[in-house]
């Protein structure tokens, strides 16, 4: 097992390096860099989100060319040279890349180009939204999916089983942002019920509220976004629970438990539950990370929340390279490590799984 884990950990290095190289070289071909962005901002034409909100995404990317800063017309060349030096663009790409990787290996992610804040702090700043959406939607999904899955396993083949399957699969197939739109139109749009607020995580007078008021205000704001991001989460978990329970129910210890006269409830929750839940528990490492670092660009945009999904997108469009590469490096690393953790949990939970058994 030790050798296996070591091998997997070593394989992370070339993968991570590959991801960084590909993305770094990709960036070199892109017209328009951070300098052009700054120049455009200085000349008052660079509001990236204006063009997105207006739905014409090509305006911000295509307008400048690499060599002669069209956006920089009217600005002194010394100023541009100064900017280039400040951002390190006077060095050749290879040197920049090696510098960057060296910093990242020491977990030094640098500062954002456009805000004087370190990338680490920037991510921390955006995390409340991600944790809110991730935590509540995961809790709701688990609280509904597991009992539902058990009930479906017990009632396997009945009409109840069939229609719930249909419903959750449809919920899975329809993108979450369409539910979000429907919820907004119904409950926040003003046409029907104006129950929930349209934007943000808290009200503007949040500071003045009492403790209870703050809690209520928070839940009032997050109801719709959490609901919209929960709907698609049911399917996998419910069906996983159901299958796992179906497998367990057929086993002999269940017959024994029944034979000694235990109530059906006790059989299910006292005996089957422990074994049936193992496969669900093995998903916990991935789940945990998902709760903290998950981000959904569209849900966040729809409800005007400022989370990690928006951060990644904004950084990419605004060419904030430290943010782009810093988050790419950190999240890829976390993702790869979590993949290994998940596999180890499988073994811990079910010692029969042996990754080294193959020839």
């Amino acid at each position: 097992m030790g050798a296996y884990i070591l091998r997997r950990l070593l394989l992370v290095i070339p993968t991570l390096l590959g991801i960084m190289i590909i993305n770094f070289s990709l960036i070199q071909f892109v017209p328009g860099g951070p300098i052009e962005q700054i120049l455009a901002n200085l000349e008052g034409q660079g509001d990236v989100f204006e063009s997105i909100a207006g739905g014409s995404g090509d305006a911000d990317v295509g307008q400048q060319s690499e060599s002669d800063y069209v956006g920089g017309r009217g600005l002194p060349p010394e100023f541009i040279a100064e900017l280039e030096r400040e951002f390190g663009f006077d060095k050749p790409p290879l040197e920049r890349f090696l510098n960057m990787m060296w910093n990242y290996m020491r977990f030094d992610f640098g500062e954002s180009y456009f805000r004087s804040i370190s990338v680490f702090d920037l991510v921390v700043e955006k995390m409340p939204v991600s944790i809110t959406l991730g935590l509540w939607s995961t809790l709701i999904a688990y609280m509904i999916s597991i009992p539902l899955g058990i009930k479906k396993a017990v009632k396997d083949g009945t009409p109840f089983d069939t229609w719930t399957s249909g419903a959750i699969i449809v919920g899975y197939a329809i993108p979450g942002f369409l539910f979000a739109i429907l919820l907004i139109v119904l409950f926040a749009g003003g046409s029907y019920f104006r129950i929930f607020p349209l934007r943000g995580l808290t009200s503007s007078n949040f500071e003045d509220l009492t403790m209870i008021g703050k809690v209520l205000d928070y839940f009032w704001h997050i109801t719709l976004p959490v609901l919209a991001s929960t709907i698609s989460a049911f399917a996998t978990l419910t069906l996983l629970t159901k299958n796992s329970f179906l497998d367990e129910i057929k086993k002999q210890y269940v017959i024994t438990a029944r034979a000694k006269g235990l109530s059906e409830r006790r059989v299910l929750y006292g005996h089957v539950f422990r074994n049936g839940m193992l496969i669900v528990i093995s998903g916990f490492p991935a789940l945990f990370i998902g709760v903290f670092f998950g981000g959904s660009l569209i849900i966040e945009t729809l409800f005007s929340l400022d989370g990690l999904g928006r951060l990644g997108f904004e950084a990419a469009v605004a060419r904030d390279y430290p943010v782009v590469f810093g988050t790419l490096f950190a999240f890829s690393l976390i993702g790869l490590v979590v993949g290994i953790l998940t596999d180890i949990t499988y073994v811990l939970i079910d010692p029969r799984i042996d990754f080294e058994a193959r020839n």
Partner: protein
């Protein structure tokens, strides 16, 4: 029943199984009708008439360009069939008076009167919805107009008929999704098969490659490529396939890894059968169920992906009849709930039907599936079971 069939007994069984799954069968029928109609969208929703009879001759403006001059007008540009002047020219056979008071003349012809001069009655056969997806509707009021007898689902914020846009958008989404799915499946199956069949170093290296590939921020790449090459439908298809094919690799690879040490494969190898034949003729049919399991999610994923790109403004050219753009409009015009409802229900119906159909296909191909006499399929949960086992089998191999 001595009827002979072109299908092999195995395929007959599959067909029978599919037919017994009533939900899938009805989904297929409804979807078939909807898609069939949307293929002929030009005949259902168009701003040109299907047929025009002008001075005894039948013209088909739907296929051919006719200038206004062809109907006795002044301009060499395409005839504006919705305008009363042109309308009048056609029904009267090109009377000069049409330029002065067309409405009166049309009313007169409608009453069956014969007018003096060079009169020859004509007619126009219009589609059910006299608007195309990009026709600006000529009605008063503010831009997203509510549903009315003229525009059944209202208009969007540039005064285009919503029904027409839904019909064209449905066709666009479905053809996009099917093209992407077919292309991505072919690439994914081949890659997964090679990876699983050869295993070892091929597998190890390829697996790293896929990890890197899926680590690329696809939205960003799409934005970049569109900025350089300009937006187009086929470029988007290409890019979606480019990032979509790894979805199938895992499942196919796991099935091949599992099967490669089984007796029938060893026997085939011992007989000296070529690798390619073993892979695609002997092993692939066994990996079929696992592959088909993923298909519904590839299809719905492609539709959802297109919708989100359009929603963000990075999708198809803005002239295209896109349902994602309608969703964006729904968000921007909350006072016009018909846009949101239309977008949601169009997607909900389209995606549900597709999922149910592909689920039925998958079940029909599954040899282990048992079918109860009255026709209900036993379960559809195997989808996630297979996904799960694919994952663990994939891990086994490392």
């Amino acid at each position: 029943m001595a009827k002979r069939s072109f299908l092999s007994p195995l395929n007959q069984r599959r067909l029978r199984n599919f037919r017994r799954n009533r939900r899938a069968l009805w989904s297929l029928i409804i979807f078939g009708v909807l898609f069939g109609l949307s293929i002929f969208a030009e005949f259902i929703a168009n701003d040109k008439p299907i047929a025009v009879s002008y001075r005894g001759e039948i013209h088909m403006p739907i296929f051919k360009f006719y200038s206004e001059r062809d109907f006795g007008g002044d301009f060499p540009t395409e005839a504006g069939y919705g305008e009363p002047e042109v309308d009048c020219l056609i029904v009267t056979g090109g009377l000069e008076d049409c330029f002065d008071n067309p409405e009166e003349l049309i009313a007169a012809v409608d009453d069956g009167q014969t007018l003096e001069g060079d009169f020859q009655a004509g007619w126009m056969l219009w589609p059910v919805i006299p608007y195309s997806y990009n026709t600006i509707v000529d009605v008063g009021g503010v831009a997203p107009a509510p549903p009315s007898p003229q525009n059944w689902l209202g208009t969007d914020d540039t005064k285009r008929d919503v029904v027409a846009r839904v019909i064209y958008g449905f066709r666009l989404s479905v053809t996009f999704a099917l093209t992407v799915t077919v292309a991505a499946s072919i690439i994914g199956i081949m890659a997964g098969a090679v990876q699983g069949y050869f295993g070892g170093w091929t597998d190890l290296v390829f697996q790293r490659f896929i990890e890197i590939w899926t680590g690329m921020p696809s939205l960003y790449v799409i934005i970049i490529v569109f900025a350089i090459l300009g937006r187009s439908y086929w470029l988007l298809v290409f890019l979606t396939v480019l990032f979509g094919w790894p979805a199938l690799v895992g499942v196919v690879r796991a099935e091949f890894l599992r099967a490669r040490n089984l007796e029938y494969v060893r026997a085939a190898k011992a007989l000296g059968v070529r690798d390619r034949t073993i892979m695609f003729r002997h092993m692939l049919p066994n990996a079929m169920v696992a592959t088909l399991t993923m298909l519904p999610f590839l299809v719905t994923g492609a539709i959802g992906g297109l919708a989100s790109l359009d929603f963000l403004g990075f999708g198809l050219p803005s002239s295209a009849p896109s349902l994602g753009e309608m969703t964006l409009q729904a968000k921007q015009n909350l006072q016009a709930p018909w846009l949101g409802f239309t977008a949601f229900f169009t997607f909900a119906i389209m995606l549900s039907l597709l999922v149910f159909i592909f689920e039925g296909v998958r079940d029909a191909f599954d040899p282990r599936k048992t079918f109860v006499a009255d026709g209900d399929v036993v379960t559809d949960e195997t989808i996630f079971e297979t996904e799960q086992s694919a994952q663990s089998a994939g891990n086994d191999a490392r």
